[in-house]
Amino acid sequence: MTLALSPSPGKSREKSLKKLKWLLEPYLYLSPAIILITLVMLVPLVVGISYAFQSISLLNPFQTGWVGLANFEKLFSDRLFWKALTNTAWWTIGSLVFQFFLGLGLALLLNKPFAGRGLVQGLVFLPWAVPAFLSGLNWAWLFNPIIGPIPHWLAAIGLMDEPTNIMADPNVAMWGPIIANVWFGIPFFAITLLAALQSIPKDLYEAAAIDGASAWQSFAKITIPFLAPTIAITVMLRTIWIANFADLIYIMTGGGPANSTHIISSYIFTTAFRRLDFGYASAIAIALLVLLLAYALLIMQMRKHLVKGI
């Protein structure tokens, strides 16, 4: 038995209004975020990108105007740019590898309860709360052979012939900021990986133990697969942040000696604020952005494949 319900025009208007409200509901919640981000980040981003196609050098005020891809052409033949690119790779990979594994180790250690864990957890995450420039200055001090302890210790244990400033040596200067960055970044991985570890159901480990799995096997076959999605996201995010993070380098070495520690970000900084060439700086920034986008896409693809395989 079907009731013939022909909606009156008023009712159907009401209905489509309701449907509209239902479709719009999520956007209502999102609107403050979207508006703010668009105004403060996206619009400036577009403007910033447009600079790359212009000649905006405050030292050459008469040469302003659109120059198409001229800035990008300059990029290809700029040796410093390519050096900075290599440095960025070293900087990012070096920082990331140590941060990640040490962070993972810390997370594993904190995963099992022990006396005083709460306090230890609070203390060991502190480095994240220290502002970059402060820790940059601090570490610069620590590495200074005249007034800091580390070169003396390194010499004492034989890693150095005599206490020298590693940040004065172009071959190893990058390690200074890397170590400072590792110190700073361990908490990020430790916190996120710890959270992921704690969400793994305990009975999986129990079942594995009964099946005769060794500690390493449990780790490789249970822990790692469960952590994989978290690892993918945190590594991707942190890589991008590190690649863009020039504060420590700028403060500890200023990009030297001999440009051996300049990464793309710090190079952008000096181009924009020392040489006052905003157009070229923007071009460099875009190059970096494109690279990072490619990287992000790569990771997302890899993640899809890995998840399929599990």
Partner: protein, 279 residues
């Protein structure tokens, strides 16, 4: 019995490893404080000593009473709390939307938020400067809060989404059947349950805003509006790097962010764990 011995050795190793981590984390901070309490005349000569031969609180005294540090500190507090507050509200709404709704365009919005994390903020300094100038928000704490909030919203949204994922959907559904609109359900039932997550996000944002140097440098130029990172830079220029005073200022500045962070980091882990289990 070999297994018992192995057990204790493993346990001891663990404690040793943990001790190493704690040492590594705290040593630089300790160093900072050490320099802050070392009298000026000994700073360079005793640079490599672990323990200073004399203590002094002079540096702290000069920083607090002879400089504008307190002004900078106050400004930083205003900006950081303001940013944390607004960011959390906006991110809560957005995180809730991502957690509970499926809608066309979700992927687009998420991608956009992701992209905002990818470009160096340097790129947009000049345009932002122009925009703020146009809005007469240069050299104002409000302008800084607006900018910082925008920067932090994406990651905060990601955090809040995780926390919301940890709360079962049937609670809202039960509330909606009981007579709430979705918003009422959010306010009365879900919100109280996200308080730990909220605290965690607040702490995280506070720390980020507290440390920010570049935009504060660019957008603020009058002394009474400076935040302390900028103020710290003046120590560098004014006193040709007065290390003692600078580290004293640094120590004082560390206190709020470290304190806050210690308090909330537990909630961060808890909230992210719960989100992982359900989500």
């Amino acid at each position: 019995m070999p297994s018992k011995v192995n057990f204790t050795i493993a346990g001891a190793l663990r404690y040793f490893a943990i001790a190493l981590y704690v040492l590594f984390a705290l040593f630089p901070i300790y160093w900072l404080v050490k320099i802050a309490v070392t009298p000026d005349r000994l700073i360079y000569t005793e640079g490599t000593n672990i323990w200073p031969s004399a203590f002094t609180l002079d540096n702290f005294r000069s920083v607090l009473f002879l400089t504008d540090f307190l002004v900078y500190f106050k400004n930083s507090l205003i900006v950081s709390f303001g940013t944390a507050f607004f960011t959390t509200i906006i991110a809560t709404a957005a995180g809730y939307a991502f957690s509970r709704f499926h809608f066309r365009g979700k992927v687009v919005v998420i991608s956009v938020m992701l992209i905002t994390q990818m470009f160096p903020l340097l790129m947009i300094i000049a345009p932002i400067y122009k925009i703020m100038a146009g809005l007469h928000l240069l050299d104002s704490l409000v302008g800084l809060i607006i900018v910082y909030t925008a920067f932090n919203v994406p990651f905060a949204t990601f955090l809040m989404q995780s926390f919301f994922d940890g709360i079962p959907k049937d609670l809202e559904e039960a509330a909606m059947i009981d007579g709430c609109t979705r918003f009422q359900a959010l306010r009365r039932v879900i919100f109280p349950l996200t308080l730990p997550g909220l605290a965690a996000t607040l702490g995280f944002i506070f720390t980020a805003a507290w440390s920010e140097l570049l935009f504060a440098l660019m957008l603020i130029n009058s002394n009474e509006n400076m935040t302390f990172p900028v103020g710290l830079k003046t120590f560098v220029s004014k006193f040709a790097v007065d290390w003692g005073q600078m580290m004293a200022a640094g120590t004082l500045a560390l206190i709020p962010s470290c304190l806050f962070f210690i308090l909330i980091q537990r909630f961060l882990v808890q909230g992210l764990t719960a989100g992982a289990v359900k989500g």
